[in-house]
Structures are given as C-alpha cells and as structure tokens.
Amino acid sequence: MPTTRRDFLGAGTLAAGLLGCGLRPAVAAPGDAPAPAGAAEPPPHRPVVTPDGATLGHRLVDGVKVMHLVAEEVDHEFAPGLVARCWGYNGRVHGPTIEAVEGDRLRVYVTNRLPAPTTVHWHGLHVANGFDGVSGLTQPAIPPGATFLYELTLTQHGTFMYHSHHDEMVQMAMGLMGMFVVHPRRPASPPPDRDYAYLLSEWAVDAGLRRPDPNEMSDFNVLTFNGRVFPGTTPMVARRGERVRIRIGNLSATDHHPIHVHGHSVEVVATDGGDIPAAGRWPETTVLVPTGSVRVLEFVADHPGDWAVHCHMTHHTMNQMGHGLPNLIGTDAAAFDAAVRRHLAPGDGAAAVEPLPNAIPMLGAVGPHGYVHMGGMFTILKVRDALIGDAAPGWYEAPPGTTAAPATAEALARDGIDLRVVPAPDRPPAPKPAPPPPGHGHHHGGG
C-alpha cells in the first residue's frame, strides 16, 4: 500500500522514523560549543537551550570573545523526509545561537562561502554604526570568499537576533539568521530553571523540490521553529514547578505568529528592546510575535502533561499545503479518490506509484492517542513531576479518569443525557418559512 501524503491524512499510517524523531532531547550539539580557551570562570547564568539548534563557541583572546561565523550552503532537514539546500552559518540552519554576557567585547569574524555577497546585521543590539551590517549603507557587502570582522561591545542584556542585511528577501528566505542572547552581568533575579530560545521563520519549499524559493512573497508553506517543523521539532521539558523562559524571535518574511502555550498562563517579560517592568506585564496564553521582533515569555510549569506549544494561525501548523484543491467536505472523499486513481494509476488505479520524493505529510505524526493533526510551528512542552536529566520523557501517562474517553452508559444515564435529543438551548428555533408577500406577482404600475 502506498504511503502517500494522502494516506497520512486519511488512514493515519506513519513510518516509524517519524515518530522517533519527535523525542530527541533538547540539547545543543556538543561539537558546536568548544570550551572557551583560557576561560575558567563559571558563567553567572544558566546557558540557553536552542531546541534543534546549537550555540556558537568562542575563544578568549586578551579578554575579548572571538567568534567565527561562516555563511555557506547547507543541506537542511526540516523534518525527516524533507531536506532542502539552504543557506546557513557554520553548517546549520539557522545559524547557532550566539550567547554572551552584558559588557562582553566580541570580535565576530564573518566568512562568506556563499555564491553571493552578504553581511550580518545584529538585530536590536546597540553597535557602532559601521558594524550594523546594512550593505551599502554602513559597510560594503562581504564578497564571496572574503572574511569581515565585526567588533561588538555588548552594552545591553536581553534577546536579540542576527541575520543577513544584504538582498534580505533572498538571503533570509534561504535561512541566513540566528538568535543572539546576552545574559545580564548582574541579574536582577535568579535565572529561570529552563531557558529556551526559538527563532520563527517561514519558507517556500514546494513538495518534491529541494530549494527554498526566495521569490515567494506570501505563500509560505514550511513554517518553522528553529528551522524545524512538526513532527521534526524537539520537545521542551520542565520539572513541575520550574520557572520556564521561552525567548521567541521572529524573522519570517511577512508573517506574525501568535504563539499559544497550552495548560499555562504566561507573561511577556522582555522584548528585543529590553525588559518589561513587572508592572507592565499581564497574563496571556497566546503571545503575538510580530516579524522582526522578540518576545520573551516566562511562566511556572505547574501542570504536568504533554502540552502543545504552537502558532495559532491554523495554516502555520500545516506542512507543504497544496492549493486549489477541490473542497471534499460533504462528499465521499475515498470514492472521489478512487475515481481519480482509476484513470491515472496503473492497473486501473490498483497499483501504487512511488510517493513524491522530498515531501512530508501536511499534518503531523502518530501520538499516544492516534494521529496528531498538527504540523509546522508545533512543538510539545513536557512537564513532569520527575525528569531523568534533561532528556525528553516518553508520552505523558495521564492519571486514570483524567483523559477524554467515550462516555459510558452509566455516565449518560446519571447525567440525563438523551442522545436522541439535541439540547434545546443550543438549537435556535427553526425559522418559519417566509410567507409570500401579499399580492406578490408581476403587477406593473398601479403603485
């Protein structure tokens, strides 16, 4: 039987590989963060975790943190089954998170191994104008093969971003961006127990193609958390009662993303413009992250479970949506499909064709209770009473009686639910057929 995208939707079958990948631990790849040369001082902060991402390493040279970003082509996997040749930094899409401390001096070398000139803009950071990275305005573009030096003195703390500021539409559509976290030199409060960083972006990678289309202006079909789509996103974890911080930057081409956290209420504590005073915060469950902005949310993970965290724009939780398809609601989709395949597929529709290469199901993966009908900007926050290390636990096992299940006859009887009756308050009275207007007819004149 063919495992097509259609089958994923219809029958919910799934290759085992897709399931496993949703459970990878949210840790940075160790190779990306070499030990700082000569730096023995323990950091006064808790390192930020970029799920599915990495943190850029550095070496200390005369008290200056030296970092090296290499812009290059990268074969990037959005989720198992979908790989595209993108542009990234240091072999990653997006680039590794730059992490430093307020007051640090940074020398960031940027080597351009792309076939096009590029620059790096430090989004939200107060840098010397000549290091702002706007090609043509504040610096010449870095030609292919060249290495430019950016010298940054970090006078702020907070969450920022970096991205190409040369031929932005193309280069950001290809993936040239990353997060930039600056921890406070003297924290006003203890660091959170969990500190996650996410970068939101959007892509146009048509099913079956292997390149993002940088000319797309509105119809983005791959919407990512840190360059991944569900079921390729790695869950966040927290012990019950831990304070969780999620830093969310958005460098999507056009879209703002309302990020919804299930099971908790959150507060926005900072933006890329700075901290929000406690008096200026209010509780939310969905935080709109406009493009070109950062929102930092914090909450106490006080409810155990597997909680969805996702963009609330429904088509942003779809993968590689098709367009212009007939609306099959209200028709027998299987019969419809059979009629089409009868004409197109070999053996009068009986034989399978190989599935479209480099395409993933529009929706999700198999979960503990069947198919999870989510894709794109969707991940899971796993809150548990106990965790072993930072590894993601398995599926949440709800205490008995705390999961939606078919209603029993006893329960129905107890509560007086009559399945033959739709409760009256939910049902407005049927409209009476309008009587024909008096004297209705084709009378002309006389009025």
Binding site: P2, T4, R5, R6, D7, L9, D206, A207, G208, Q320, G322, G324, L325, P326, N327, L328, I329, G330, T331, D332, F336, D337, A339, V340, R341, R342, H343, L344, A345, V353, E354, P355, L356, A359, M362
Partner: protein, 466 residues
Amino acid sequence: MTRRGRTLAVASLAWTLALAGACATPAPSGGELRRRALHDASDRTGVAVAPDAIGAAAADALAAAPLTDANAVRLAVLAHPSVRAALARLGVTRADLVQAGLISNPVFAADAIDFSGRPELEFALAQPFLDLFLRPLRARVASAELAATEAAVARDLVHLAFEVRRALAEVRAADRLTSLRRDALATATSARELVERLHAAGSVSAPERTLVEDAELRARLALLEAEAAAEEARETVAALFGDARPPPGFAVPDGPRDELPALDLGDVEARAWRASLDGREAEALLDAAVHGRTLAGRRAGMRTFELGAVARREPDATFGAGPAVALTVPILDHGQAASARADAVVAVRAAERDALRLRVESTARRLRGRVRATGERAALLRDRHLPLRARFVRETLQRYDAMQVGAFDALAAKREELEAQQAYVATLRTAWLARLDLEELLAGSLVDLAHATPIDDRASPPQEGD
C-alpha cells in the same frame, strides 16, 4: 453453271483458302492473358490469386477466413466486379488483335437485267487485296494496343490491392482513435460525476459544473465522430469485396502496427519509373502510334485494291468471262492528311509518355518525403512524446497523492495524455498511408496525389476554443 464457271469458282475458293492460311497470326489465348495479368499483379503486390479461382464460391470461402491484408487483397480480387471488368477488357483488345490478322472476305456480286424477256446476267467475284499487304502492320498496331491493355489491367489490379490495404489501415486507425476517445469520454464522465458531487455538496459553483459537463459533452461528440469515421472506413473496406461483404463491425486483425517495416528509399524516382505499369501502357500506346504511322504511310491514300473475276451472259446467250481489278487512284487524296494525323498521334503519345515519367518521378520524390517525414514524426511521438506524457501522468499522480494538485488537474493530465495518443494515431495513420502510396507507386501504379492522403494529419484531437 458452265464448266468455265465452275473452274472460276473453284479457283476463287482455292485462292481464298490460300490467303487465309497464309495470314494466321497467333494471338495469346484469353486464359493466358488473364493469367499473365494476375501473375504480374501478384509479383508486384506479393499476393497470389489463381485466375480460375475468381468467382463467388472461392470468395465466400475466403470471406470466412481472418481478414489479414493478404486475405483481404485476395478477396477483393476474387469478388470485386472491377476485376472482372479489367480482365474482360483483355478479351476486347485480344479480339482486336485477332481481327487485325484476318483478311477481308471476297465480295461476290451478281446482276440480272431483263431485255424484253431475254435476261442479261453478270457475276463478279472480287477479293480485296489491300488488307493482305497491310495486315502485318495492322497486327503490330493491335499487338501494341494489347500490350497497353495488359499493362493497364495489371495496374488496375495493383491499385485495387493497395486500395484494400489503405482501407484496412484506415479502419485500424479509426478503431484506435475510437478506443482512445472512449477512454477520454470515460475520463470526462468521471470528472463530470465528481463535479456534480461537489456541486451537490455546495463546494463547486454552477458555472464550473457547467464547464465540466460541457467538456464531457465534447468528449462524447468526439467519440461519435470517431465511431462514424470507423463505420465509414469499414464500409470502404466492405465495398471492395463486392458481394462477399463481411458482416458490419467486422474485426481487422494484425493491428495496431506501430512499427513501420523498413522500406528502401534509395533512387525511388528511377525505380518507380522502371516499375511503372502506367509507363508501360504509355510506351505500348506510343508503339501502336508508331506502327499506325507506318500503316498510314503505306496506305498513301489507297482505300481499295481488289482483284477478281467477272462473268457475263449476254441477252443473246453469249457468255464471256475475264479478270477484274478495282483500285483507288490516289491523285486527289494521296494520304497526306492521314499521314499527318498519324504523325501527330505519335507526337502526342510521346509527349504524354514524357509527361507521365515526370509525374511518376515527382510523385516518387514527394512520397519519399512524406514517408520520411511522417515516419520520423510517428517515431518521435511514439518513442519520446508518449513516454513523456505517461511520465507526466505518473508525476501528476504523485503530486495528486501528495495533495499538491487536485482531482481535476490530475484528470486533465490524463486527458492530455489521451490527446497526445490521438495525435500519435493521426500521424501513424498518415505515415502508413504515405508508405502504402509509395509502395503502390513502386509496384507500378501511379498514385493520384490530388486524391491521396493529405500530408496534414487528420483526426487530430479537437482543441480548446475550436
């Protein structure tokens, strides 16, 4: 009769017999001529038919056999009245040849004149002699004319064989087109059913439904057209079998013939002219005209030359007899007009022969071009275009399964594949017809290109907006 009279009569008879015996030129028998014509045609078409098989019984027996090309050609030769007519024309010309070898009969004349009860009687017997001198030339003219008829009859047989093969090719193409259009209708019907379901569910607008419905109707019209063409193509075949008509809707085996067998296209002009039965006919007619010109020269205005005897009994009963001669005195008409006419006929036929050669050679070149062009196009369509369309259908199905294209786009891909197959069948048909035309030409029958296959493919699928 007196003794002298008897002597005269016996002498005359002996003379006549002597003349008759001297002039017996042998003409081929009618059976031999028919055998030769059929044999010549068989050599050229590769289908042998025995002359004595021609007739209803053999045709009926053959009509039950599978309708292969060879059987169909044989059946047409056996049963089509035009074959009987062609063979009968041999009899007409053969009789002309025999006639040319005969000497005119002697003429006997008698008169009796009454002179008041005493009759005068006169008897004369005359033998025309001009024939005797001109007879060999006349036989040569008639012989050449018989050769012309033989060539023409063989040509008609060859032509009939290729008419049959072309008609079968038309049936094959029409059947294939019909089958493709039936598939196209099935696709269009599915699309219409789907759009109706969607419309009933409230998901498709009325004008969208209308267009899909209309597309189905157009597919139906195209099928009806193809079915009518197939029926007509069958009638063309059936009509070639005279009274041995196959039943309606008869099957034509050994289709679908995608591969055109190799055909030597080298030097077709010269080969076509060498093989041309039309050419042989024209040469024979020219020959006849040349002999006719000699004949006219020999005559030189002579109409009559008779020798004979005359006997008379006078009213007083005296009897006398003696020789008689009658001849044209060519002093007023010494045959110059007849000679000029004969000269002109030679010129006409020579020029006609030359014009014919040019036509045969030009037709050979044109048909060679058609065979090459249509063969190349058919091969490209078959080996490249159709696989690409099939690949596109498979790829579209992949994208349909991946929900990147909808049902109607998917069905459109199938429709376009079927249209490509129809275009291929149209080209294949043209290729086969061009090839059969050239084969016919090389078998000796000049194809009239004005009435033959057009070079443009017929039966290409109806296009949007036609």
